[in-house]
């Protein structure tokens, strides 16, 4: 919270008492403040999730280690996964969306500002519930505190018999509550984008960021709702003695798997599509070229949205489905790679022949391109059911999805952070520190996650708290853990840069990147009302049109 007030101190020169200014942040319905609250909240949770990951990696650095007990290890991977997906990745992306969408479509706020505040506080409350389990999870049973059922919480492990105490209740309630917040945000995104665009901004002239967040909103609605329903069922089982997932009474554990992954796979696209959006804004600006293939980008994103609803059981090949099921979900998984590949070609096409400027946001986006490509390739490998039977539940899977989540999502989020930080704070970040951050994190990432594929292929299962020496896993685990410390160093530089720049950064001006979308036409940070006069646009790059009246875009679109 302390950095809130710092940010405000710059934004807002009138010196009112600090209590009053904090109060402003708590009761705010302004999309910019809520966006920043989302981002700060997620960064805080990122640190917590990172500590949990570090604990796991220290435990695994050598065989037969005794850094933590098996029980604590189980809690760590459960809390780490749940935290990172639901309380870091989702809210940070919602935060950027909340902050940027109204600015980029030329309006003064979201469609439903109070719903916006409600959604943020629901999400925040969900995280609080999850972490309260460390204190309140024991219940009367003296049975473990924090949840330890894994982030997908398979039945029947979640039943009262196997998870006594309250820890699993906290897990399910936290996701129920934050899920309601996410659905509220999605409703708000969709409505804002469809109903609040400034005059002239037809759907075909929206910035890609708006388009991609529209698709994300639709996916959140279709994906998070089933999860919410499944959590209600789990609560009924645990509190009211229901039998949804109770195999003793005829219930089916596999049904939970289906419900979870019907959420789970679309969810990964909920996370990556906003990152595609960042890349689609940042790459053109630093290549000094308009995005290559705008309509194809939109079409590919919509296609991904639809196909992503039909691949979920590729997480369940090892459960034993019919051969038709295996064939179907293998095929859909292959198909979804096509629109994804199209997008990669479009970004490369944008860079092709451009005057590329290797600023920090661009560096992160270029790394994203390579890493996301590799992650997609291991995804396709895992999507082939025979291959999957060999490697499911191994460290190969862990390497695959961290390649996407860290190498794809986190890298673009860092890129977006550097790109829009000047707008949000009014100050430039320190370029040298940003480059240090980039290289440290890049090295750490590759040390950790490149080498993680190998013990996976050598048969090391995920979620084991220790292992025997002499299976050929030792050296790889050592390297993996060493990489973690590089990543930590990178993040520390990042946080340091953030604080330093907030206080001492050069003033950024309205438009430090010579960019083209509407958020750069207003002051940094923008005033409460965003635009003194609602803009009117005629092309996808309104600021280009202003800066180049002799050669405006609308002649060609």
């Amino acid at each position: 919270m302390a950095s809130d007030t710092i940010a405000l101190g710059i934004a807002d020169p009138d010196a009112r008492p600090i209590g009053e200014r904090l109060h402003d942040w708590v009761v705010t319905v302004d999309h910019k403040k809520l966006g920043i609250l989302y981002i700060l909240y997620s960064l805080f949770m990122l640190v917590i999730g990172g500590v949990e990951a570090t604990i796991m990696r220290i435990q695994l650095i050598v065989p037969h280690n005794h850094f933590v007990s098996p029980q604590v290890f189980n809690r760590m991977f459960t809390m780490h996964g749940t935290t990172m997906i639901f309380f870091v990745a989702m809210p940070i992306l919602f935060g950027f969306g909340t902050y940027l969408i109204p600015l980029m479509i030329g309006t003064r706020d979201m469609a439903f500002p109070r719903l916006n505040a409600f959604s943020f506080w629901m999400t925040a409350f969900g995280g609080l519930l999850l972490y309260f389990s460390f204190i309140g999870g024991n219940g009367l049973y003296g049975a473990g505190n924090a949840p330890d059922v894994g982030w997908f919480a398979y039945a029947p492990l979640t039943s009262r018999a196997f998870s006594p105490g309250h820890s699993t209740d906290f897990w399910t309630l936290a996701l129920l509550v934050s899920g309601i917040g996410s659905i509220g945000t999605a409703v708000n995104f969709i409505t804002t984008i469809l109903c609040m665009r400034c005059p002239g901004m037809t759907l075909g002239k929206m910035p890609l960021l708006a388009w991609l967040n529209l698709v994300t909103g639709g996916l959140v609605i279709l994906a998070v709702s089933p999860l919410t329903a499944a959590q209600i069922m789990l609560s009924i089982d645990r509190y009211l003695g229901g039998h949804f997932f109770d195999t003793q009474a005829g219930g089916a554990a596999v049904l939970w798997m289906h419900f979870f992954w019907i959420f789970g796979h679309p969810e990964v696209y909920v996370l990556i599509i906003p990152c595609f959006a960042f890349a689609s804004e940042i790459i053109p600006v630093f290549s000094r070229k308009p995005i290559f293939g705008y309509p194809v980008m939109v079409g590919a994103t919509v296609a991904i949205g639809f196909i992503s609803m039909s691949v979920w059981a590729h997480h369940m090949f090892t459960v034993g489905m019919s051969s038709y099921g295996n064939a179907f979900f293998t095929a859909t998984t292959m198909v979804i790679a096509v629109p994804t590949g199209i997008k990669i070609f479009n970004w490369i096409g944008t860079m092709w022949g451009g005057k590329i400027q290797f600023r920090a946001p661009m560096l992160f986006c270029i790394a994203f391109l390579f890493q996301f490509l590799i992650a997609g390739l291991t995804g396709i490998m895992l999507g082939a059911s025979p291959f999957n039977w060999q490697l499911s539940n191994s460290y190969f899977v862990v390497a695959h999805f961290h390649y996407v989540i860290v190498g794809g999502i986190l890298f673009t989020v860092f890129g977006a952070f550097y790109y829009w930080f000047p707008k949000m704070s009014g100050r430039m970040y320190n370029d040298a520190l940003a480059k240090w951050h980039f290289w440290l994190f890049l090295i750490g990432f590759h040390l950790t996650f490149d080498f993680m594929h190998i013990p996976g292929m050598l048969g090391m299962p995920r979620r084991i708290y220790t292992y025997e020496p002499g299976r050929g896993w030792d050296i790889w685990n050592l390297i993996i853990t060493i990489g973690v410390f590089f990543q930590i160093a990178g993040v520390l530089v990042f946080v340091g840069n953030l604080l330093w720049s907030l206080l001492k950064g050069e003033p950024a001006g309205n438009d430090p990147w010579d960019a083209w979308t509407l958020e750069w036409s207003t002051t940094s940070p923008p005033p409460d009302y965003n635009f003194a006069k609602i803009p009117v646009v005629e092309s996808r790059r309104p600021l280009w049109d202003i800066k180049h009246p002799e050669d405006p875009d609308w002649k060609y679109e």
Partner: protein, 198 residues
């Protein structure tokens, strides 16, 4: 430079976007549909899978009367909003009250069905698999009816206080979308629980 106005043309007058209320409500309905879909799938999947009795055939009777009431409330809410749009506030109040009454009858009927099942038949949510899916699906729907009824009651109070004006018809129209949705869901729940499930 706080606005990006361009001089080429001013087509501001022709600029019309969809109504926020309707888009927001349709998005919410999409989310709610997904929630109900999962519950309906679970119910269908578990038909006949209970390991012990009683079965739906032993317990359920078709709730024809309450179904007719709920479905006709869709018509009355439509007529109410139409009357308000034409500035006939009195007629509006009448139809609105009827909507509320019909919704309340439905809820009371569900309550009596549950009372019968619980107190006379000893059939609860934990009795067997059927009990779990039956009470949660019907209960989820009844919860939505309750929320709708609270909103209707609130608007009724405002009507009695004379605060409801024709310019509010747009909002009540958006709300009526929710009410129609709850009715459509009931048609599905009715079919799945009382017809197919029996």
């Amino acid at each position: 430079m706080s606005s990006a106005t361009l001089a080429r043309s001013s087509n501001e007058s022709a600029w019309a976007l969809p109504s926020r209320g309707r888009v927001g409500m349709f998005s919410l309905i999409a989310a709610e549909s997904a929630v109900f879909t999962i519950f309906v799938v679970a119910h269908i999947y578990y038909i006949g899978k209970s390991l012990s009795g009683p079965t739906p055939k032993d317990l359920l009777e078709l709730p024809i009367f309450s179904t007719v009431c709920l479905l006709s409330s869709s018509l009355t809410i439509h007529l109410a909003v139409r009357a308000l749009r034409k500035a006939k506030v009195g007629v509006f109040g009448l139809w609105w009250f009827l909507t509320m009454a019909l919704g309340a009858i439905f809820l009371v009927a569900t309550g009596r069905e549950w009372q019968h099942l619980i107190y006379e038949k000893g059939f609860t949510i934990s009795t067997n698999l059927f009990g779990t899916t039956y009470y949660s699906l019907v209960g989820l729907h009844a919860f939505h009816v309750t929320v709708g009824l609270l909103a209707i009651a609130l608007a009724m109070i405002f009507t009695l206080l004379g605060k409801v004006k024709p310019e509010h018809s747009e909002r009540l129209d958006v709300f009526s979308l929710y009410w129609h949705f709850v009715d459509v869901v009931w048609v599905i729940v009715f079919t799945v629980v009382y017809v197919i499930g029996r």
